[in-house]
């Protein structure tokens, strides 16, 4: 098949990816969009398979069958609460595949040059360098992120002396290998040494980032996995690799920016900064002392029975407690009683962008009821009861009131404006920011201590009794 036809097919595939992503702009068109993307992928694969340089299909078929089976099993079996882990893992696989493809291209140099498809110049070497570097940082960074999300790696902000210096040194060493790659363009040794250095860099890059900052890291690594593929596209002069990889790169960058804005922090601060836990702030005793009111399922049920408008604010705690199905039961009961129930979702609630929305959608909550922060915030004054499940820093009014607080200026859900706030939480322990939350001691706040799922189930039971 002529390379002209192949490139036209690649153009159609790239267009299908763009239409597919466009479909994701609304839940109604999203399923079709995803199918268009899959169709584009199928077209790109089939066209590549008829490429004349392919002499044997056995290895390809074996790889596709094995990979396809693993992918399908993962996709069907995965729990929705484990989506951040799965996305982290997929990011990593993409990175590793880019390392291997670029490494294979180096081995194929004599043939690629012989056939005239690439020229052995600095651009070739640097593209291979970029694939390996971004790929290795993505792969190892994603594995660490995966470990942190699983709780197998310390998910705190792990720091050590001179950590920034170590990272800078490693980056310089990687650049030295890049120079060697340009000088010896057909040698594979500097490439693999560089990959080894970049691997260490990838691990050190994610290790110091704490659990609550995971949405930023997962989004950024998502972007990297695309950029690694785009870099490999520069190696192979393959347009569909460049376009598709760049689309993913752009998507990840946008999500990263949204996540950073939602925390009122710069990307540099999230990645390299020390999250300053201020000393001088008020202590937990000063904030809570004698002012915290504890409540019961019966009391909450009475409040809810008379409420016209209820807002539920989910946080990572809801995912941990797997409380989404209990929440759905509460939603049904309240809606049946004529109460309007909405959900206020903070952009960084959970461990990845959109984490809460997926859990609530899994529990069959209609998406129209899932409100962004900007959408729900003006409404809190009209809301009778707000129920917070396992969220803390994103509802801490200190972000508005105390300019010296570590979360000062972070956009929050203004839950304290609603008539009554019920906070479901195991204890008064602080969130990731490490500061007490005056909301818990506010006049209109009631604390419901306990496990998220159990607490909501108790509320459902009491409300059923109440409604007869």
């Amino acid at each position: 098949m002529s390379s002209g036809l192949v490139n036209i097919a690649y153009l159609i595939a790239a267009s299908l990816f763009i239409f597919g992503l466009k479909g994701l702009s609304h839940p109604r068109t999203a399923v079709r969009g995803n199918q268009l993307g899959a169709l584009g992928m199928l077209l790109a694969i089939v066209i590549t398979l008829v490429d004349q340089s392919i002499i044997g299909y056995e290895i390809i078929i074996a790889g596709v069958v094995i990979g396809g089976a693993i992918g399908a099993i993962l996709a069907v079996r995965i729990q929705m609460t484990a989506m951040p882990e799965l996305v982290a893992l997929f990011n990593g696989f993409g990175g590793l595949a880019s390392i291997l493809v670029a490494g294979a291209a180096l081995l194929e140099v004599p043939y690629l040059v012989g056939s005239g498809s690439v020229a052995l110049n600095a651009q070739f070497s640097l593209s291979i360098f970029a694939s390996g570097l971004i790929g290795a940082v993505t792969f190892w960074g994603s594995l660490v992120a995966f470990g942190k999300l699983q709780g197998k790696v310390n998910d705190g902000a792990v720091r050590y002396p001179a950590d920034q210096l170590v990272k800078i040194l490693l980056a310089i060493i990687a650049l030295v290998f890049a120079y060697l790659m340009v000088i010896y363009p057909d040698s594979a040794t500097p490439y693999w040494l560089m990959v080894a250095v970049a691997s260490v860099l990838g691990i050190l890059f994610v290790i110091p980032i704490g659990g609550a900052d995971m949405p930023v890291v997962v989004a950024l690594l998502n972007s990297f996995s695309g950029l690694a593929a785009a870099a490999t596209g520069f190696v192979l002069f393959n347009t569909v690799l460049i376009v598709a990889g760049t689309l993913v790169g752009a998507s990840g960058i946008i999500l990263t920016i949204i996540m950073c804005k939602a925390m009122n922090r710069s990307l540099t601060n999230v990645l390299f900064g020390t999250f300053t836990v201020t000393e001088g702030g008020p202590s937990a005793d000063e904030v809570y002392g004698g002012k915290v009111k504890s409540t019961s399922a019966e009391e909450v049920a009475m409040l809810l029975e008379g409420a016209k408008r209820v807002c539920v604010v989910p946080g990572y705690g809801m995912a941990v407690a797997q409380a989404q199905h209990a929440v759905r039961e509460l939603f049904d009961l309240l809606e049946g009683n004529g109460t309007v129930v909405e959900f206020g979702v903070h952009p960084v609630a959970g461990r990845m962008p959109g984490h809460m929305n997926v859990l609530l959608a899994e529990a069959d909550i209609p998406y129209e009821r899932l409100k962004d922060m900007d959408e729900i915030n003006p409404n809190f004054k009209q809301i009778d009861v707000t129920i917070i499940i396992g969220a803390n820093d994103v509802v801490n009014p200190v972000a508005r009131t105390d300019p010296d607080s570590p979360i000062a200026g972070m956009p929050i859900l203004d839950v304290d404006y609603s008539k009554t706030v019920v906070v479901i939480k195991r204890s008064l322990s602080p969130g990731f920011a490490g500061i007490p939350n005056p909301l818990f001691a506010a006049d209109n706040a009631l604390m419901f201590f306990g496990d998220g799922k159990k607490a909501v189930e108790d509320m459902v039971k009491s409300l059923k009794d109440e409604l007869g």
Binding site: A14, P27, G63, M80, L107, V248, M352
Partner: protein
Amino acid sequence: MDSFAMVFTIFVLAAFIGFEVIAKVPPTLHTPLMSGSNAISGIILIGAILSAGAQHTWLSAGLGFIAVVLATINVVGGFMVTNRMLEMFKRKD
């Protein structure tokens, strides 16, 4: 236009399109967007297929094979899990 300038042009234009299109994705769909883009970055499968199929050396074919497995996991797993999530978001009648 030399060949590098050409592919670089494609790269920059694709980035602009990406920013335009993805800025319109609502926060509700950010998780499916990420898993869907996982699937799209599985496009590296194209490169993997070329290495595994050309079989210039045993080693390059071997690297290609592993890359085919990994990329296919992303493509198949990514599109399937995204579909599973998006079905949940569909309006229930």
